[in-house]
């Protein structure tokens, strides 16, 4: 048999000893290998390799700082295969340690080599490292989605400026949701593909709008998350502007929806100027903003549901959902609403609904016009359980709804609470059955039990299946609204039913008029 001795030299290539021994053993165990060694090219090691019959002319030339891969194999074909495998291993130092475990790259370079067609990197490392990883990715030709939070603002600004010069998009930091070319990324939902593009500075905002569009008969072309701070003055909307450019140029996008909290004034002007220059129609949903002057190709939407409806061509979503037919009074004397939210934007939107209806509300993450929650909640209080104070050391409530179990139990026992508002968010990254979890934590209802009102953010295409989640909630007597905004309005409508508070009636009707008037949406009085 004609054995073949092959040497490959990696000049100036250092591996730590443990890794070197591991690779040596792996390569030596490969089929067709008679003898193998990976050694630094010192004179003594070359002697060992020569004595073992695996040092060739190439290896002879190596010096102490070079790594020699020395093989004696059955033929050249095997040699080529083994060398390719060895190179692959050496470039992927994090090879699987457990038998049967799939290989996963440990570095960006290794990942790119294994998937050379990639053009997007999703980064989820501690915030202090995210900037460096994002920079690496940008300079290797990739767009970037930064899921990480706790990235310093100055780093975000520097990264986005650099990305702009490179012509690449930075989604985030703290970007929890995106849908790119039909692929849901991080916390996102399976939605129908269509011609509506979304640019969002909010994860659950994008989720709510994309799901409502999909459930409402439309579809999403792209959903680009830009991070919660992008529209601050420091950042200047750099990613938002780039996202608008991309969607403007995308032939599959007909209508563009922009979702955010109200931006800094100067940034709003820049963004609206960019929208004006577009030939496409836009929906602008700056949650909490009052009516604003928009260019002729843009419509203002005060809620996420309204944003979805205008994008669908002013088509009503669940026009059969009629508040005054569905609302029931809470137990007598119980007039407080307590909201337990997993989505920050959903909590904020509910606060805006309350504020615009003239109802005082407090929160741990208050919007302008709401009070900050201090101590024990009193009156209407809407809590974001996804905020840092609840998630430090704990999973996010979307992943593990148990985070709000204690809050739910206390709320149900509170004699002042007449209505409990809850959001249920499904999709990728979310708990496998948040509705089931919630339903299991509700005791048998009595006449004195507070009403529980929920909305489900998701689609029937999600693994958890929205219809199934809704069904589980309804079976336990939970009132289910078609959207988060509807749930907040329903809570207020229920209070109106039971509290005898005439003032609420007037304000609620004003709020509803404001919502319908601005969007042109017509709610048909059908049965629920």
């Amino acid at each position: 048999m004609n054995n073949v001795v092959i040497n490959q030299i990696r000049s100036g290539f250092y591996l730590d000893s443990v890794a070197l021994m591991r690779f040596s053993r792996k390569i030596a165990a490969m089929e067709g290998v008679e003898e193998a060694a990976l050694m630094m090219g010192t004179p003594s090691n070359k002697k060992i390799m020569a004595d073992a019959g695996i040092l060739g002319a190439e290896g002879e030339k190596a010096s102490g700082g070079d790594l020699i891969i020395g093989l004696r194999v059955v033929n050249q074909t095997v040699a080529d295969k083994i060398l390719a495998e060895a190179s692959y291993l050496l470039d992927q130092p994090g090879m699987a340690r457990k038998k049967g475990e799939n290989w996963r790259p440990r570095s960006l370079s290794a990942a790119l080599k294994s998937a050379p067609g990639s053009n997007l990197a999703l980064i989820s490392v501690p915030g202090e490292f995210a900037g460096a990883e994002a920079r690496k990715a940008l300079h290797q030709g990739l767009h970037v989605m930064i899921f990480s939070d706790n990235v310093p603002l100055a780093e975000e600004v520097a990264l986005k400026r650099e990305a702009q010069q490179l012509g690449r998009l930075v989604m985030g930091p703290d970007c929890g949701t995106a849908i790119i070319n039909g692929v849901p990324l991080a916390f996102a939902n399976k939605v129908k593909r269509g011609d509506i593009g979304i640019v969002g500075a909010s994860g659950t905002g994008i989720q709510e709008v994309s799901c409502l569009i999909s459930q409402g008969g439309g579809g999403v072309s792209q959903a680009i998350g830009v991070g919660g701070r992008d529209l601050k003055e420091d950042v200047g909307g750099l990613s938002t502007l780039m996202a608008l450019d991309l969607l403007d140029a995308d032939p599959d996008t007909r209508h563009i929806v922009l979702i955010s909290k109200p931006p800094a004034k100067s940034v709003a002007e820049t963004v609206l100027k960019r929208i004006k220059a577009s030939k496409k129609n836009h929906t602008v949903c700056f949650l909490g903003a009052s009516e604003m002057a928009l260019p002729g190709n843009a419509i203002f939407a005060p809620t996420l549901k309204a944003a979805a409806e205008t994008a669908l061509g002013n088509r009503s979503i669940r026009k059969d959902f009629q508040l005054d037919k569905i609302a029931v009074p809470p137990p007598k004397g119980k007039t407080a609403v307590r909201g337990l939210f997993s989505g920050g934007t959903l909590c904020a939107e509910a606060q805006f609904v309350f504020r615009d209806a003239g109802e005082p509300v407090s929160s741990n993450v208050p919007i302008p016009g709401a009070a900050r929650l201090e101590g024990t909640p009193e009156g209407h209080c809407l809590i974001d359980f996804g905020d840092d104070e609840y998630t430090r050391g704990h999973p996010h409530p979307m992943i593990d709804p148990a985070v709000r179990d204690e809050g739910l139990a206390k709320t149900l026992e509170n004699p002042a609470v007449g209505v409990v508002l809850v959001d249920v968010v499904i999709g990728y990254g979310a708990h496998e059955d948040p509705a089931g979890h919630l339903a299991a934590r509700l005791p048998q209802r009595t006449a004195d039990s507070p009403l529980v009102i929920a909305s489900v953010t998701g689609t029937d295409l999600d693994t958890q299946n929205r219809a199934s989640q809704v069904s589980k909630l309804k079976k336990t007597g939970i009132l289910v609204a078609p959207s988060n905004a509807d749930a907040a309005l329903l809570a207020l409508a229920c209070l109106k039913r039971g509290g005898g508070k005439r003032a609420i009636i007037g304000r609620l009707e004003e709020a509803m008029d404001a919502l319908t008037g601005l969007t042109g949406t017509h709610i048909v009085n059908d049965e629920h």
């Binding site: 050694m39 010192t42 004179p43 003594s44 130092p93 920079r135």
Partner: protein, 317 residues
């Protein structure tokens, strides 16, 4: 923190330095990254090397221990040939994306040893031998911690071992004579055992670690003229016999400095603190793949030869 180019820098602090690293970093200079690993990176400044990493690295004379979290080195976008500067109390990557501040860093020094006492050494060596029965690694040269007759017939020979036996025998012969008469040291003929240098597959080859252990033992026995003669011989050939990273560690050993865990076990053996030795062996085991064992082997070889020479002197007297 923004650097002068308007780009953002990740900033960490140096908390502890090895004495050689401290010396190198006390002067301004320019360097290049020469190797990047999971827990550390090596930088070359002139002919010197430093090893920068997180606390999990442990301490040795070249090491610069920082607040970079465990596993964080790989996330710092460091690449071979990346230049850096030492200036203004910092190590700064020229790309501007990483700054390591040196303010407040403490310098580590090796654990001091008790004055040499043959009885205590004897007791320490006995404890070491007891703690290493049936625990010797197959790879590397760690088996030389125990007498050859204990493992010759029970442990398989490896290529590294086979290539080490003869040169090590010649080195031991020289050491035996030199320790017996330290006032009349003959210059070591490095050619007789230079094959030990660079012998073995690791980043610091087993032979280098053993030689390093020899030098640490000589230093801790107070055999400084002997150490000097030995070091000069090693220095003549080290550049052509091994890689630059291992050579840098050997230069540390020439100054009597090695890994913190090694110094602790040396101190325990020399002071006869038998109860500490099993636990310290556990720490030595974790140094590299076999580096800890190999270094310990070099130390034990010298300690035993020194013991023999004391016994021979007493008998002659």
């Amino acid at each position: 923190m923004m650097n002068t180019n308007g780009r953002y820098s990740a900033q960490f602090h140096v908390v502890r330095l090895g004495p050689i690293a401290m010396r190198i970093l006390s002067e301004c200079g320019q360097g290049l990254v020469i190797a990047v690993f999971d827990r550390c990176f090596y930088g070359r400044i002139g002919d010197d090397l430093i090893c920068v990493g997180s606390a999990s690295l442990g301490m040795c004379p070249l090491n610069v221990i920082t607040t970079i979290p465990h596993g964080g080195i790989r996330l710092l976008a460091l690449e071979v040939d990346m230049p850096f500067r030492i200036a203004d109390g910092c190590i700064k990557m020229r790309t501007g994306h990483l700054v390591l501040t040196l303010d407040g860093a403490r310098t580590w020094t090796p654990e001091p040893v008790d004055p040499l006492a043959p009885e205590r050494l004897k007791s320490g060596l006995e404890a070491l031998e007891k703690a290493t029965i049936h625990r010797l690694p197959e790879e590397g040269l760690g088996r030389f911690i125990r007498p050859a007759q204990e493992w010759e017939s029970t442990m398989p020979a490896t290529p590294v071992l086979s290539h080490a036996v003869e040169p090590l025998g010649r080195l031991q012969a020289w050491l035996r004579v030199a320790l017996a008469n330290p006032l009349a040291i003959k210059r070591p003929d490095i050619l007789l055992w230079q094959e030990l240098l660079g012998l073995g597959p690791g980043l610091t080859p087993s032979g280098d670690d053993l030689i390093g252990g020899v030098m640490l033992a000589l230093h801790n026995l107070g055999q400084l003229p002997l150490l000097k003669a030995f070091s000069v011989a090693v220095a003549q050939v080290v550049a052509e016999r091994t890689n630059v990273i291992s050579a840098a560690h050997l230069r540390g050993a020439m100054e009597g400095m090695g890994h913190e865990a090694i110094h602790r076990i040396i101190a325990a053996v020399l002071s006869g603190e038998q109860e500490k030795i099993p636990q310290l062996i556990e720490k030595v085991k974790k140094i590299g793949h076999t580096s800890g064992w190999d270094t310990l082997a070099g130390i034990v070889i010298v300690f035993r030869l020194w013991q023999e020479s004391r016994t021979a002197c007493q008998s002659a007297a």
